[in-house]
């Protein structure tokens, strides 16, 4: 299937963090129930009986930014190996027991978070067996040494492959240039040398330190009563490790003192170009004007300024986009595009000019109204499935956002002005100090 536009990946903030806006009505967007289990795990629950399904996830602050120096890749492997051996069950046994009842594991992993999710039928036999296996994965992972060796070899091979592909070369160079020594500058799956050196005790230690009850967030949605949800949450949290000490905060991100420009040779027919700057944190007061502004600049698909200038007017690219990804510390503001290598310089000039004009002048009132119309008017699309709601619950819980976050969001969006957008972009993005990465460039 060939589509008219590739969206820049569901992991990108604009696509799924944008969430949340119930039109400006009094009622809550989502009736979220919240409590803590006996061991202190925070629980976020939405009851939804429309389908006989239960979706749940448990999330820990155990993303790649928790990798100790020299052990880059250990957090990713720890999360990966959770499902490959627990309480004496082999990876094959785990897979079979879940498959027997049609249950499916999933999860996410990024610089901040490591999560393990489960989807199961809500019927007693199916959900009972699925939850029993799932609880053991969280509470009693074995991290078998031979499985670790096998999975290390697979990760290392994937890292070697990534070093030949222009998009992964660009992403890696971009993170390193943007964040330097900060943990956000690391490759999430680690480096060949560090992964090679990992041993079982490194995974055990990371699990003990970061997969704790105090830090965990349980999100639940689906066909169950509050009482059943409480029972499940207690069962899942009972055997989690207890924190020995509070988790250390991440260091702050330093802004670049000078522009960084990296040009990396590659034989590809297209240049892969990334530009960026440290962006925003979760809960940052500038987030709303930046979010709305970015919709206008490069987040709004076919109606953004970047798409209009680079693709619609000039036919230079198939895809050009921008986004802010809010994280625990300053997540990236990123612009990306690919274009035939001979015209990379031209495309980059247009992108830079469009960005600079946007920062200097801000959006028009018409653009702002169109952005609000889309963001507010499309609010119901943000949580029209259990799966989407589960992601919202986990995000609200993990970043300790208020339960009214969704309702507040609509109000916040609605109050944004063109002046605020212009001021926020001028405050937060310094075009003269941005990071630029070009893989397979002819032009410069």
């Amino acid at each position: 299937m060939v589509a008219r536009l590739r969206f820049p990946g569901s992991r990108h903030a604009v696509v799924w963090l944008a969430l949340l806006f119930w039109a400006l009505t009094a009622q809550a967007a989502l009736p979220i129930q919240h409590w803590q289990t006996a061991s202190g795990v925070r629980v976020y629950f939405v009851e939804n009986r429309a389908l006989p399904i239960i979706d749940l996830s448990v999330t820990f602050p155990a993303g790649s930014s928790r990798d100790p120096q020299g052990q880059e890749g250990v957090a990713s492997l720890t999360r990966h190996l959770l499902t490959l051996g627990a309480a004496g069950m082999s990876d094959a046994e785990i897979a079979e027991r879940l498959a027997d009842v049609g249950a499916v594991l999933g999860g996410e992993f990024d610089a901040d978070r490591a999560g393990l999710s489960l989807r199961t039928l809500s019927s007693e036999r199916e959900s009972g067996q699925a939850l029993e296996v799932y609880a053991r994965l969280l509470q009693q992972p074995d991290f078998p040494a031979d499985v670790l060796e096998r999975e290390k070899a697979r990760v290392i091979a994937a890292l070697r492959e990534a070093e030949t592909q222009p998009d992964s070369i660009a992403a890696r160079a971009f993170a390193a240039a943007l964040y330097g020594d900060h943990p956000y500058g690391r490759r999430q799956s680690g480096e060949i040398a560090t992964v090679s050196a990992l041993r079982r005790e490194h995974l055990v230690e990371l699990h003990r330190r970061h997969y704790t009850a105090e830090a965990a967030v349980i999100a639940l949605i689906g066909d169950m009563s509050r009482a059943r949800a409480e029972g499940i949450a207690e069962m899942l949290s009972a055997g989690l490790p207890r924190a020995q000490q509070a988790g250390a905060a991440l260091p702050p991100v330093a802004y670049p003192a000078a522009p960084v420009r990296r040009v990396i040779p590659h034989p590809a027919t297209q240049s892969h170009i990334l530009l960026g700057y440290p962006g925003v944190k979760r809960g940052d007061a500038d987030y709303f004007p930046l979010y709305v502004g970015n919709y206008i600049l490069g987040g709004g698909g076919f109606v953004s300024r970047l798409t209009e200038e680079v693709r619609e007017k000039r036919g230079l690219v198939y895809s050009v986009y921008s986004y802010f990804m809010p994280m625990a510390e300053l997540g990236p503001f990123q612009i990306g595009l690919q274009t035939q290598r001979a015209q990379g310089g031209e495309a980059l000039d247009v992108v830079r000019g469009t960005l600079r004009r946007f920062i200097d002048e801000g959006p028009t009132e018409q653009e702002l109204q169109a952005a609000k119309d889309n963001i507010v008017g499309g609010f119901p699309l943000r949580f029209d499935s259990n799966r989407k709601i589960l992601d919202h619950l986990a995000m609200i819980g993990f970043y300790r956002l208020p339960l009214t976050y969704l309702d507040d969001f609509v109000r916040q969006i609605d109050q944004v002005t063109t002046a605020q957008i212009r001021a926020a972009f001028q405050r937060r993005i310094v075009p003269d100090r941005m990071v630029t990465v070009i893989v397979a460039g002819d032009a410069e």
Binding site: I53, E161, P267, Q340, L381, S385
Partner: protein
């Protein structure tokens, strides 16, 4: 549909909700409308499917179905270029389009009360599209960038394209959906106009609506906006049947990469809707046994136990308008394992099934997946609309969705063994291999089409 159909959920095509929720009707001009009511959230997805995809193209203008898809956003008399997207965006909607071998489809996702806007805009561009040379000149460059991104610079994309060309020598499934670069280079706006006039008509379209709507209301809206559009006489469709394969075929693709890659395929039948057909269901179960879940054979034996492969997969999509399909196996060998070793290991897994069959436990497990997937997929309105559209385009009925789980449940272990024996022969096999090349950094892969850029 997808360029690579390795995903089990698509392969198994789990059934949509109860058939009672689906309503079907036909407008006087021949346009078909299928509505599935789903009141879980106040949203709606609307999809217009045209029975015109890359399989209907001719040599010399490959890719025109997809180029026209892009041009469909370039304006009508009432809606200037670029405004389609702005109007939908202002209504809080999301919209896009996609082209496959069998179809071209356009969709909008909206808050439920805005459905009429989508229908009005789709009806307008079904007959009133303005195809201008200036817009075309820009958009064809966008499509060429898309091809570079999707295929030219992607080793696995290149392998797939060469693989399909080898597996299908007469049937149009052998041609790339995005088109050959040379054909894109020489395409004109007149080619897109010919295509539009040939296929874009209500009697070649299906409207699928899923969401928080009432079928009767959708019917009224569909009649209001599409009802007056004139039908066209559609050109005859020639089957272009692929003759039986007369021996193994092999291709090698060299591209900058580190890891080799193997893609194998066997010609197999597809669903026809016939009362007693069982082979496509048995092949779907076989795909499930090989790669349907984390415990399936290929992953368990080749990745976990013997560590022959870093990644493996198997896939089969039984819904094809072209009347033919490939059962595919793919994999990346572990370090120290050759592609040839991996090929033998994959074929050995097939041989074991041909010789010993599958266990009742495996069969039960795959069927458990079918039951669960049938429920899970109801969580996505978009996916349900996709299933309906894809079936209808292939000439099958959405009613098949209701029967599908039961038909899969009826498959026996013996039938799975029988299809493995029948179709997995060396005479019926095509193999494509990626031969990874070191990066020669400063030498772009210049080919003719890249040397005279616009």
């Amino acid at each position: 549909m997808l360029k690579r159909c390795m995903a089990f959920l698509l392969v198994l095509l789990p059934a949509v909700a109860l058939a009672g929720n689906i309503h079907e009707f036909r407008l006087d001009n021949g346009m078909r409308v299928i509505v599935q009511e789903d009141h879980r959230a106040p949203v709606v997805v609307s999809q217009v499917w045209y029975r015109a995809g890359s399989m209907d193209e001719f040599n010399g203008t490959t890719g025109v179905a997809h180029v026209l898809e892009h041009m469909m956003f370039k304006g009508t008399e009432k809606v200037p270029p670029g405004q389609f997207s702005r109007i939908i965006a202002a209504a809080g909607g999301r919209e896009n389009a996609f082209t496959g071998r069998d179809y071209t489809a356009y969709f909008q996702q909206l808050e439920q009360s805005r459905l009429e806007l989508a229908l009005q805009l789709e009806a307008d561009r079904m007959v009133n599209l303005r195809l201008g040379a200036a817009e075309f000149a820009k958009e064809i460059n966008v499509v060429k960038e898309e091809r570079r991104w999707r295929t030219e610079d992607r080793p696995h994309g290149l392998v797939y394209e060469h693989f399909m060309a080898a597996a299908y020598q007469a049937h149009p499934y052998g041609r790339p959906i995005v088109g050959r670069m040379s054909d894109l280079e020489h395409m004109t706006v007149d080619d897109t106009r010919d295509w539009y006039e040939r296929w874009y008509a209500p009697n070649n379209a299906i409207l699928v609506v899923v969401g928080d709507v009432r079928a009767q209301d959708v019917r009224v809206l569909a009649e209001k906006h599409f009802g007056a559009l004139p039908p066209r006489t559609l050109p005859p469709r020639k089957p272009q049947t692929e003759p039986p394969q007369r021996g193994e075929r092999r291709v090698t693709v060299q591209a900058p990469a580190k890891l080799p890659y193997l893609l194998m395929g066997f010609h197999v039948p597809v669903l026809t809707g016939a009362e007693n057909e069982w082979e496509p269901y048995a092949l779907s179960i076989l795909a499930g046994v090989l790669d349907g879940n984390a415990s399936a054979r290929l992953n368990q034996n080749l990745v976990r136990r013997h560590r022959t492969a870093l990644e493996v997969g198997a896939g089969y999509d039984a819904v094809q308008r072209g009347g033919t399909a490939l059962f595919m196996l793919e994999g990346t060998p572990s370090e120290g394992v050759t592609v040839s070793d991996l090929e033998h290991a994959l074929l050995w897994e097939i041989e074991k099934i041909k010789h010993d069959g599958i266990t009742e436990e495996e069969l039960r497990r795959v069927k458990a997946q079918v039951i669960a997937a049938d429920v899970y997929q109801r969580d996505s309105m978009f996916f349900q609309a996709m299933q309906i559209g894809k079936l209808e385009i292939a000439g099958l009925s959405w009613r098949l969705l209701g029967d599908y789980p039961a038909r899969l449940q009826a498959v026996s272990a013996g039938q799975v063994q029988e299809v493995a024996r029948k179709y997995f022969t060396s005479q019926n096999m095509t193999v494509a291999v990626l031969d990874p090349q070191p990066l020669d950094e400063n030498r772009p892969q210049l080919r003719k089409e890249f040397t005279h850029g616009r």
